[in-house]
Every structure is written in structure tokens, then in C-alpha cells.
């Protein structure tokens, strides 16, 4: 199993450009997440998905969009990039069932470092 993979590893964008960060998991997990990590800070949840076709906002969703057409893929779209979106982006996945344990372990990808100039 490759686990959670993210592409690209690094990217530099100009202000106003758009891009899509790719995330794929091969563990057949139902939950997937996007986080951002600003310098010297912890991870903050941008969006998450509980299954194909279902997404919901996290703590910091402004400036981003997501879609989940398959179990495996959860791309994050940045429209009109701004310097405030300079960050490291992590994708994660987990298998969770409502009514089960409060939490099941999240598996993280290696991250994408994005710089907006």
C-alpha cells in the first residue's frame, strides 16, 4: 500500500493563479481531510469528506474548494491564489463509522509546500 499520496511536493504560484492539489489514498478509507500548516503553527482543517459526493467545511475553508467523486481521490482547488495561502498542505484519510469509537487514526500524506508570490 502506498497509503496517502500527494502531488505536487512543491509549487510556486503567482497571485491570482489557480491550481489543484491532488490527494489519493489506497486504503479504501471513507473519511478524507485537507489541512494547512502555517510556519510555526499546528495543522488547521480546511475541508473534509465523509464519503464520495459528500464534503463539509472545516475551520479555514475560505479561498478553497473540494470535490470527492471517488473514494480514493480528494483534490483541493485554490482559486485566485493569495499570499495568505502560502503554507504546507496535508491530506489525510481515516476509516470511521458513526456510533463506533470517537476517533480512528488518521493517516497523513507527505505534504505539499505552496508559495504564493
Amino acid at each position: 500500500n502506498a497509503g496517502v499520496t500527494q502531488t505536487p511536493k512543491f509549487r510556486i504560484l503567482k497571485i491570482g493563479q489557480s491550481m489543484t492539489l491532488q490527494c489519493t489514498q489506497d486504503m479504501n478509507h471513507n473519511y478524507m481531510y485537507w489541512y494547512r500548516q502555517d510556519p510555526g503553527m499546528g495543522l488547521k482543517l480546511i475541508y473534509y469528506s465523509v464519503g464520495a459526493g459528500i464534503t463539509d467545511k472545516g475551520e479555514v475553508p475560505n479561498g478553497y474548494n473540494v470535490s470527492r467523486s471517488t473514494t480514493e481521490d480528494f483534490p483541493l482547488r485554490l482559486e485566485l491564489a493569495a499570499p495568505s495561502q502560502t503554507s504546507v498542505y496535508f491530506c489525510a484519510s481515516s476509516q470511521w463509522t458513526s456510533g463506533g469509537p470517537a476517533y480512528n487514526e488518521q493517516f497523513f500524506g507527505p505534504g505539499t509546500r505552496l508559495t504564493v508570490l
Binding site: Y33, G40, M41, L43, S94, Y103, N104, Q106
Partner: protein, 112 residues
């Protein structure tokens, strides 16, 4: 809602010594988990240890153990026999309803 506070931005420990990293949290959930994650320079998030809130016994994983004080909402990580490979950023996190809330992290350096 959940909040996690790590008030120490940096700590240093001598190799082979013991160090304790502090964390406090607040949550409105009755069923939750607590975690410590390690993030080395490679950026990969590595789960170090986890604690189910309903368990009174403190979790232990080899050289890593926690001191979980539920009433005080405190969750500290103790690293024994520190090794050079322990140098990293460490994040405390709280999990409920399959979502995680992270603290700001603490940078741990290990002196040879």
C-alpha cells in the same frame, strides 16, 4: 468545540535524559481521544502515542509515555532516554467525531 494549548514553543534535552512536553486542552465532547504527533524535518506526521479519554491508565509506547489528568485537562508527553532522532516538532491533538484539533507545537532539540 475543541481547543489545544501548547504554551512552550521550544525545549532542549541532553541525550539519554528525560524530557516532558506539556499540553492542555478543552473540549465539549464526552467521548474523545488525545494524541501526540511527531513531525521531523521531512514534514511527515508520525503518530507517537494516543490516549482514550475514558481510560484512566496512562498510555505507554516504549520510551514514550503520557500523564493524562482528565480533571485538569492536561496531557503531557514524557520521553525517556532521549535520542538524537527524537529531535522534531511535537504536536498535541484532540480528536472527536473523527476530526482532529492541533496545538501549535513544540520544537524539541536533543543535545549530544
Amino acid at each position: 468545540a475543541q481547543t489545544v494549548t501548547q504554551s512552550q514553543p521550544e525545549m532542549s534535552v541532553q541525550e539519554a535524559e528525560t524530557v516532558t512536553l506539556s499540553c492542555t486542552y478543552d473540549t465539549s465532547e464526552s467521548d474523545y481521544y488525545l494524541f501526540w504527533y511527531k513531525q521531523p524535518p521531512s514534514r511527515q506526521m508520525i503518530l507517537v502515542i494516543r490516549q482514550e479519554a475514558y481510560k484512566q491508565q496512562n498510555a505507554t509506547e516504549n520510551r514514550f509515555s503520557v500523564n493524562f489528568q482528565k480533571a485538569a485537562k492536561s496531557f503531557s508527553l514524557k520521553i525517556s532516554d532521549s535520542q538524537l532522532g527524537d529531535a522534531a516538532m511535537y504536536f498535541c491533538a484532540s480528536g472527536a467525531n473523527s476530526k482532529l484539533t492541533f496545538g501549535k507545537g513544540i520544537t524539541l532539540s536533543v543535545r549530544p
